[in-house]
Symmetry: C2
Amino acid sequence: MDKQSILVGFGAAVAARRKEKGISQERLAEIVGLHRTYVGAVERGERNCTLTTIFRIAEGLNWSPEELVRNGMFATQ
Amino acid sequence: MDKQSILVGFGAAVAARRKEKGISQERLAEIVGLHRTYVGAVERGERNCTLTTIFRIAEGLNWSPEELVRNGMFATQ
């Protein structure tokens, strides 16, 4: 899987889960302690999150990190 | 889960899988195109890998990224 597909897929999974939970990018950013513009960039596949940030975002979405990663893989297919 | 536990757990999962496959850090580094010292640092929990590096390492270990992340969580318990 190429780098761009990985990032875009992950971002799509974050966005889908966030919308499912009915929260804004601002709210998610607040919950996980990241900047709103960073969350937006992640969702657009413009940022390559570190492992610990993946854990923070997953926690903010009430998801396990592995589920978030798995859903990111499906999102790119 | 605190940052240090996440990194140490992930590194332990990488090391365990690599040894299970009977390959050296040097060999894994070669396969995934990373420096040997970087792989060593990851296994000791001293590096916070990005999402795309997690995918590369998982591929080098013939694992899915989600399995690698999941095993990292178990490794810390």
